[in-house]
């Protein structure tokens, strides 16, 4: 019994220390990543962000996307829609 209580106290200490340690790491890591990215990739890679700044009416886009998804059984996706100039 006494042993178990010692164990419980040890768990309380080790546990809370670890939890705080990990969340300090979350904080530092997050901060470090933000700084790193701000410094070296502030712009955002166009390749990853598929921003669709084209002139296509967003409502129409949604309808097209929904229709394509249905017609292709979900295996097709509308990745990009461009207005013909």
């Amino acid at each position: 019994m006494n042993e178990n209580i010692e164990l419980a106290l040890l768990l309380l200490l080790v546990g809370m220390v670890t939890v705080f340690l990990v969340l300090i790491l979350v904080y530092s890591l997050g901060n470090a990543i933000v700084r790193f990215v701000n410094r070296f990739f502030p712009e955002g890679e166009q390749a990853i962000v598929a921003s669709q700044a084209t002139g296509v009416n967003q409502k129409h886009l949604a309808v097209i996307a929904a229709a394509v998804a249905t017609v292709t059984g979900g295996s097709g996706k509308v990745l990009k829609v461009e207005k013909e100039s």
Partner: protein, 403 residues
């Protein structure tokens, strides 16, 4: 005559009369269904669990999970899954292949990851700390439970209810005290559903009116942070990878949970590149896992296992663990406010509990009640999400030291 005899032998009436516990369990099953359906307490879990309880407790159906001793063979070996199915039916097949192996909770965590957005946490990283303070309920109740005579393994499983995270609680219990899986899962999910009741209760006990009125946005204006994220998309991609490596080094035993959560999150943040995987993880995989998890957890709650004093202890202990965790978050904020000019609303700290995103919503509503312009939702999300990490880490510590 023989027909009637055969009929009676086939039915479960005899056991129903000899085992009054069965009827109690049927009522409990119906109560769980009622809570899930009419009260909308986590219906995705409580409905399968409740139905599982109903199916499991009628003898002859072979849908109740059997004592693990029955699948043990001599010299440290176990029956194989085919033999388990053959001997004890499909529910034990499900339980021993998907639950007792610890498989489904990490799989559900992968789906949770694919539905989680670390953005709000990354935008208010400092607030993430309060997700640590709000784990104190886990260890406090562990201590209390050991005093009350629970084994350390049982006490750890009981305490982890205070982590307010279903898959984490289930995973820890599978590893430490699988015989308590039923009541602990029920307690974990019920209290999560009761967050709208528990948070107001605890916060009113511990917070002053002045504290309720702390306006986070005004504080931000008074003490603006220099922090700015120029390319959130990329930060969100690097973060789960980096965090995966770091937590794997510091708390390896939390990797099955946290690693899968972060993997799910990564494939989600990669957008169209891996959307097939993210969709699968958060859709069919998670939903299938939820069905089988719920039914199997319900099936562990047979009357001979569930109707014990321990179960009551778990119900009370689980509530305390929840309440103490919330209190931990609130008190940590108060201590912080003593030393800092920029004040934090203790309701934000209360969200360190986790129970994403309900805790944040509840905290936000309370704040709005005191000041209808005090929107704190986005601030609450930071400790709320970090609380998930916090409890997975706490679970890792418990598993590595108690297993």
């Amino acid at each position: 005559m023989e027909v009637l005899e055969q009929l009676y032998k086939m039915t479960a009436f005899s056991s129903l009369f000899s085992e009054p516990g069965i009827i109690i369990m049927l009522i409990i099953g119906c109560v769980l269904l009622y809570l899930g359906i009419a009260k909308k307490f986590e219906p995705l879990l409580l409905v399968p669990i409740g139905f599982g309880v109903v199916l499991a407790n009628l003898p002859g159906g072979g849908m109740g999970v059997v004592d693990p001793k029955l699948i043990e063979l001599e010299n440290g070996h176990y029956m194989n899954l085919f033999e388990i199915a053959h001997e004890y039916g499909i529910m034990n097949f499900l339980y021993y292949s998907l639950i007792k192996t610890g498989f489904l909770p990490p799989i559900i965590f992968m789906g949770v990851g694919a539905l989680t957005d670390f953005g709000p946490m990354l935008r208010n990283l400092k607030l993430a700390f309060f997700g640590a303070a709000a784990q104190i309920g886990i260890f406090a109740v562990l201590l209390a439970a050991i005093f009350l005579g629970f084994t350390p393994q049982e006490a750890g499983s009981l305490g982890i209810i205070g982590g307010a995270d279903g898959p984490t609680a289930i995973y820890t219990t599978i590893k430490l005290a699988p015989h308590l899986l039923g009541p602990i899962a029920i307690a974990a999910y019920s209290y999560m559903a009761l967050v709208p009741v528990i948070i107001p209760l605890v916060s009113k006990l511990l917070m002053t009116k002045k504290e309720f009125l702390i306006n986070m946005k005004e504080q931000d204006k008074l003490y603006p942070s220099k922090y700015e994220i120029k390319n959130l998309k990329l930060v969100k991609i690097i973060f789960p990878i980096a965090l995966g490596i770091v937590t794997a080094i510091v708390v390896p035993s939390s990797v099955p949970l946290l690693g899968m959560l972060l993997f799910g999150n990564l494939v989600k943040e990669l957008g169209t590149l891996t959307s097939r995987l993210a969709d699968a993880a958060s859709g069919p995989i998670m939903n299938t896992a939820t069905i089988f998890l719920g039914l199997s957890v319900g099936a562990t709650m047979t009357h001979d296992v569930f109707l014990k004093g321990q179960t009551l202890g778990i119900v009370v202990g689980g509530f305390l663990a929840f309440a103490i965790s919330i209190a931990g978050g609130i008190l940590a904020t108060k201590v912080y406010n003593m030393f800092s000019k920029k004040k934090i609303n203790p309701l934000v700290g209360a969200c360190g509990l986790s129970a994403v995103p309900m805790a944040s919503r509840v905290a936000n509503e309370i704040a709005l009640k005191y000041d209808k312009n005090n929107h704190i939702l986005m601030y609450c999300m930071a400790p709320n999400i970090s609380g998930v990490i916090g409890s997975a880490v706490a679970a890792g510590v418990l598993i590595s030291m108690l297993q």
